[in-house]
């Protein structure tokens, strides 16, 4: 199994619902807490496992605002696991989820340096590295109804821009979406082979342009067509 997420950049509206749901679930999950430093002060800081950045793509008037949620890509060649000196970072053989054993991490930051996606953040209170678990404590929970055995970010997304699934199964929803929509990896040139895939925005204009045609115009067009024939 190769579990991961597909993020649809066409439909994401940048509401930060996924980041909030993630923080809410994971602060009391297996790797919790996700501490904050000075949360209500002037300069709040804290560990988040999901960040949403907003870009302007293309030049005006043909530009598009794109919201890009980013969490751990659960790379197939996970450099964060290779560099870890304590063995706290590991990639599960059975489903490819990259996790940090909070009892082993010494907080040296080297895995965060090795990660090109900014997926790892040091917990300011615990001094250990925190990262997306793909909600490993939800997706296998037999007590939850089957349709809720998904990451918190996927469940909460109001535009259904996030899809969770097995990339090893060619008929899974994620594999089909990647095939049909031309899914892209971020920074593929580094060779980490990230599992999470991004669906580029569709090329149609955001607002349909309607042509106003008069009778005179349509007659003219018809005559022109006949003459050229």
């Amino acid at each position: 199994m190769k579990l991961g997420l597909v993020v649809d950049l066409d439909t994401c509206v940048g509401c930060h619902g996924c980041a909030t749901a993630c923080k809410q679930w994971n602060t009391s999950g297996t790797i919790g807490p996700l501490s904050d430093k000075d949360p209500y002060g002037k300069d709040p800081n804290g560990a988040w496992l999901n960040r949403i950045r907003t870009y302007e793509v293309g030049d005006t008037p043909n530009s598009k605002t794109v919201h890009m949620p980013m969490s751990c890509m659960h790379c197939e060649e996970a450099a964060c696991v290779t560099v870890c000196p304590t063995g706290a970072s590991y990639k599960r053989a059975e489903d490819g989820i990259v996790l940090v054993d909070q009892d082993k991490c010494m907080g040296c930051n080297l895995c965060a340096w090795a990660c090109p996606y900014g997926a790892r953040e040091l917990d300011p209170a615990q001094g250990t590295m925190k990262k997306c678990t793909l909600c490993v404590d939800r997706i296998y929970d037999q007590k939850l109804p089957e349709n809720e055995r998904q990451p918190a970010c996927v469940l909460t997304c109001p535009t259904k821009s996030r899809v969770f699934g097995d990339f090893d199964d060619p008929n899974s929803q994620v594999s089909q979406l990647v095939r049909d929509r031309g899914g892209k990896q971020l920074m593929p040139e580094l060779g980490y082979n990230p599992v999470n895939t991004y669906l580029p925005p569709r090329n149609k204009p955001a607002v349909e342009v309607y042509k106003v045609t008069s009778i005179k115009q349509s007659v003219k067009t018809w005559v022109n067509k006949m003459i050229t024939r």
Partner: protein, 309 residues
């Protein structure tokens, strides 16, 4: 990259310590006349142990959760940091055995102590190399991920060690070894050459841009919003930015303090000036290590709006 002071101290001091013991063992075992002295070898050995141990202790200060530091020996097969830790600890019994030999029987050692000396010199070199590979192995930082990083760490470690060895030799013996003096000067020239090559190399534009980072390879991409109102871990760790003109001034100051000034001081024949030369080289190398971090640009910066790293 944010330069953590404890890491700067660690790499400079332990680098100098490993360089010192490496050169001292080589000089001693190859029969360099001025190094065949019990007190000199003991002083040099103890000084290098003090520098290495201070550096290693300083390195634990940048750990956010140091109670798990003992686990750092467990991933020797994959992690350069783990390898560094293993070799750094393995170095101690051999060097202590070698120094015990010198303490008990002077400069004329028998085979088993000679072997311990050779092994400790090799381990010093290997540890220094492992330290450099922690940085050189990171594909995310173009300014580090190249062969010049290990070359710099090895050359500068051995260079600062040679200055310390010259200072210790001239102070303990009261005379100046022209061979040590000349080799220290040659290493200073080599060191400054390596640094200048490095500065030219990282000055060339290359590496990732915001386009493959965000996947929009056909269009221009600009950051509109980072998505948070104040700086987080990623901004503090990777967003560290120093103005280009300030970096240039620090580069020039570093080259003067770490290389040119010590070279001028080494033209004299005064042990006190040699000591000063060694100390200001260490200070200059702290600036060099600071620049090594401050000029390194992590690819995460692309997601935070940099067009190129």
């Amino acid at each position: 990259m944010h330069p953590a002071f404890s890491v700067l101290v660690f790499t400079v001091l332990s680098g100098a310590g490993y360089g010192l013991i490496l050169l001292m063992v080589i000089g001693h075992l190859l029969g360099l006349g001025e190094l065949q002295d019990r007190n000199l070898l003991l002083s040099g050995g103890v000084l290098s142990l003090v520098l290495i141990s201070t550096g290693l202790l300083a390195s634990t200060l940048h750990l956010a959760n140091p109670k798990n530091a003992w686990r750092a020996f467990s991933r020797f097969k994959t992690s350069w940091l783990s390898r560094e830790a293993v070799f750094a600890i393995l170095f101690y019994p051999f060097v202590i055995f070698y120094l015990t030999g010198i303490w008990s029987m002077g400069a004329q050692l028998n085979a088993i102590f000679v072997a311990a000396g050779i092994i400790s010199a090799v381990l010093a070199l290997v540890t220094l190399f492992c330290t450099s590979m922690i940085y050189a192995s990171l594909k995310t930082i173009r300014q580090w991920n190249n062969a010049l990083t290990p070359v710099t760490y090895l050359v500068l470690g051995i260079m600062s060690g040679s200055l310390l060895l010259l200072a210790v030799q001239s102070i303990v013996a009261g005379t100046v070894s022209s061979q040590l003096q000349q080799s220290a000067m040659a290493l200073l020239v080599l060191g400054v050459a390596v640094k200048i090559i490095y500065f030219f190399w990282i000055g060339k534009p290359s590496g990732s841009t915001i386009k493959p980072a965000t996947g929009f390879t056909q269009a221009s991409v600009r950051l509109l919003d980072q998505g948070h109102s104040s700086n987080g871990f990623l901004n503090n760790e990777f967003g560290y930015t120093v103005a280009a003109n300030k970096l240039l001034r620090i580069r020039l100051l570093m080259l003067a303090v770490a290389f040119v000034l010590p070279l001028l001081l080494l033209l004299s024949h005064n042990s006190l000036l040699f000591l000063i030369a060694a100390l200001i080289t260490l200070a200059g190398l702290l600036a060099e290590r600071w620049l090594f971090f401050a000029e390194a640009r992590h690819v995460v910066r692309l997601f935070h709006g940099d067009q190129r790293v």
